[in-house]
């Protein structure tokens, strides 16, 4: 097949032709998208005729590439788990054009120089765009504030100690006061450390049955309440990461009703898996906050339908297989999912009829853009050519050995899913093509 190769810089004009065009403004029918110099030049029927080369979409769905405000790319220092090259390639394979990286690396991304290095390095890599997050406290220790203004100047778009809750309420308040003044988003990993204790899974009937230390939903709800109060008090925009429980979601609904500047995220795994998955004692299912009960999952889905949820973030958290072959106490928290996030969500929530496709796309496009205050991604002339072509029909089995991520395992391994990205374009360059990945 002709057309640009993955990651290839493409000179001249090229086009995706014969695609079903959908964006946040609605369904635009079948047409072409003409691309030049990293931007969309024209959209509509027949505009592809002006291109020097083209890719035939065959009627598949073309839409703006997804935005992920929450991924652990592990660089610097944890390259055995993932690095920028593998992480950004994995994001591209998942249809994501932009990724916000988390700062819990070695060393922690808590200095402007480290942010600058990430930005520079990512610029030269094919794959999704990197917009780095930076730590709220030095070393994620929750003791002293990092220099938000300098981090922002270096390219950080978000302040977060994700992975570690900010236990000290006074520190959280100061962080929000600074962030509000600078217009930075504070993302929180909201769990009360003392209530969470040594829990490795959701506390409930299943944890008692399995004899594993539990982490109660109250640990999340209590901290979400505090973080929402601090947002209200300071006016800072606080984005609550990975909400997992009904209780925490109800707290957020309460504060949203008051008009507090709070937004929230849920993850693909918390929407599709429950604590019952731990019955097989596989540490792949050990995540923080934990997979919750059926009732919690049902409530999160209800919140999606009602529009309480602002964005879906993957919380892609790769580890080595050996780390996940430990016991459930010593295995680390987190699972890789960025490559299968959309197929999982599409198959389980959209194809099943629970949520419309437009609603799902909003959570991956306009939703996260609004959280960050970025322009809403659109298929229109002048917009960046960040696109994903989705095959909503063909069922393919999840095969982690083919992941671009270094973490070649998955909770969904072997499961047949639909909604696979076939082509991802970032800044006019093809950064992923399914036929190449499958070759």
């Amino acid at each position: 097949m002709s057309g640009p190769r993955p990651g290839a810089r493409r000179a001249g004009r090229w086009a995706v032709v014969g695609a079903h065009l959908v964006d946040g403004d609605g369904d635009h029918g079948v047409g072409d998208v003409l691309i030049e110099s990293g931007e969309i030049r024209a959209v509509g029927e027949g505009v592809g005729a002006a291109a020097q080369t083209s890719i035939d979409a065959g009627g598949a769905l073309l839409t703006p590439a997804f935005l992920d405000l929450h991924a652990h790319l592990r660089e610097p220092g944890q390259e055995v788990k993932e690095d920028l090259a593998s992480g950004l390639a994995a994001a591209a394979a998942g249809g994501f054009g932009t990724v916000v990286s988390m700062a819990n690396t070695t060393p922690t991304v808590d200095e402007p120089g480290l942010v600058g290095e990430l930005v520079e390095k990512a610029r030269r890599l094919p794959g999704a765009r990197l917009r780095p997050g930076a730590a709220l406290s030095h070393g994620l220790r929750g003791e002293t504030l990092t220099d938000f203004a300098a981090l922002q100047a270096a390219g950080a778009v978000m302040i977060t100690d994700d992975g570690m809750p900010v236990a000290d309420g006074r520190l959280m308040r100061s962080a929000c006061e600074y962030a509000a003044e600078l217009g930075l988003i504070v993302q929180t990993h909201s769990e009360d450390p003392s209530l969470r204790g040594d829990g490795v899974m959701h506390e409930g009937a299943v944890s008692q049955e399995l004899g594993l230390p539990g982490n109660p939903d109250a640990a999340e709800a209590v901290m979400v309440f505090r973080d929402c109060e601090v947002a209200r008090l300071t006016g800072a925009r606080v984005h609550i990461a990975h909400v997992t429980s009904r209780r925490a979601m109800e707290v957020i609904e309460h504060f949203k009703a008051l008009g507090a500047p709070v937004t929230c995220e849920v993850t693909p795994h918390h929407l599709t898996l429950t604590d019952a998955a731990l019955r097989g004692f596989d540490p792949v299912f050990k995540v923080a906050p934990p997979l919750r009960s059926d009732a919690d999952v049902a409530y999160l889905r209800e919140a999606l339908r009602r529009g309480t949820v602002d964005s879906i973030g993957t919380d892609h958290a790769p580890h080595t297989r050996a780390e996940k072959d430990r016991d459930l106490t010593s295995a680390p928290f987190g699972l890789p999912n960025i490559e299968v996030a959309f197929p999982v969500l599409y198959t389980r929530l959209v194809a099943s009829g629970e949520l419309g496709l437009d609603g799902m796309l909003r959570l991956l496009q306009d939703g996260p853009a609004a959280v960050m205050g970025w322009p809403r991604p659109r298929l229109q002339a002048g917009a960046p050519a960040d696109l994903v072509l989705l095959d909503l029909e063909t069922e393919r089995t999840v095969d982690p050995t083919r992941f671009a991520s270094k973490a070649k395992f998955s909770p969904w391994a072997g499961e047949p899913l639909r909604g696979w990205p076939m082509l991802t374009v970032v800044g006019g360059d093809v950064v992923f093509r399914l036929e190449d990945a499958a070759a």
Binding site: G211, F281, T329
Partner: protein, 321 residues
């Protein structure tokens, strides 16, 4: 001739075996048969020569990632009394802390070709995880808070042998008192006792007896109420860490409300037995005179450990499915 021998030696000779991880895959009839085998083993142990060749040629590996001299000795005695070879591995988590995964540890040890591993680990689920990486049989000798099936077997076996006029577990009430939350002994006893048709009551201070634990089992926070009509009362060991971690106010408070005393046992059924998985904290969870008293079968429990574990090893290695 030489070629034939080589083939025989390189062939994988271990078929996939049955495990004892908990009682989910065991029927009450199978447990009853196990008790029958234990009776035979108990006979062997009364002979002058306390050894039979039943497991000659088999190798039993003990993998203890957590210290437990008593349980390990009991299993090793049970293996050797049947002429099995024993290899012991005491990790205490040391090699794992250097970054070796559980899988790597097992794969290395598994090169010694044991037929069965007896596994103790501080984290729930480890014996279950190990079944994915070896064809050898796995016996759970205690995993975290989850299960300690041979302890529950020897507890039920002791009750069967010592309760006067025993006519089955139906209608028999076992009351377990103490730190139920952290107790694999309690969880395994609940599972087995109910499987055998008996009734269980759990008793302890609220932080150590969460409501979600053991659905369908009666909970009580008052010792006197819990013990009423009991046919066996089992006290659990109270760890001092529970006070330090803020779960309980003090030893004195616990003793005042939950210590198994002669007075507390007054409302139990006639002939009720007093049990404890050991080692006891004398005069903490159980009054010294009760531990030493006529109703106590604590020493019988320890003695039952060897024939029960002999029966488990025998059943898993050579017993019929």
């Amino acid at each position: 001739m030489t070629a034939t021998v080589q083939i025989a030696l390189t062939e994988k000779t271990r078929a996939r075996r049955r495990n004892l991880l908990d009682f989910a895959a065991w029927s009450s009839d199978e447990v009853a048969a196990l008790f029958g085998t234990a009776d035979v083993m108990a006979q062997v142990l009364t002979r002058t020569i306390k050894k039979v060749p039943a497991l000659q040629g088999f190798t039993v590996g003990t993998l203890f990632f957590e210290d437990s001299t008593r349980t390990r000795l009991s299993f090793e005695r049970a293996a050797r009394a049947q002429s099995a070879d024993v290899i012991s591995f005491a990790a205490g988590g040391s090699s794992l802390s250097k970054g070796e995964s559980l899988k790597d540890t097992l794969r290395t040890i598994d090169q010694m070709q044991a037929d069965l591993y007896v596994v103790r680990h501080p984290t729930a689920g480890v014996p279950y995880q190990l079944t994915r990486w070896t064809d050898a049989a796995i016996v759970n000798a205690g995993d975290g808070r989850r299960a300690h099936p041979t302890q529950a077997l020897l507890d039920a076996y002791t009750f069967r042998n010592r309760f006067e006029g025993f006519d089955g577990f139906a209608g028999k009430r076992l009351v377990i008192v103490g730190d139920v939350l952290h107790s694999r002994v309690a969880r395994s006893n609940v599972e087995l006792w109910r499987k055998l048709g008996g009734e269980v009551v759990l008793c302890g201070p609220p932080p150590l007896l969460p409501p979600e634990l053991a659905p369908g089992v009666r909970h009580s926070h008052r010792l006197a109420d819990a013990v009423e009509g009991a046919h066996a009362v089992m006290a659990l060991r109270l760890q001092r860490e529970r006070m330090a971690s803020g779960l309980l106010p003090s030893v004195a408070e616990y003793v005042a409300r939950y210590q198994l005393t002669a007075r507390a046992l007054r409302s139990a059924a006639d002939g009720a037995l007093v049990m404890h998985p050991g080692p006891i904290n004398r005069d903490v969870e159980i009054a010294g005179d009760v531990a030493d008293g006529p109703r106590s079968v604590i020493e019988t429990q320890v003695a039952s450990g060897v024939p029960i574990r002999m029966a488990v090893l025998y059943t898993l290695l050579v017993g019929k499915r």
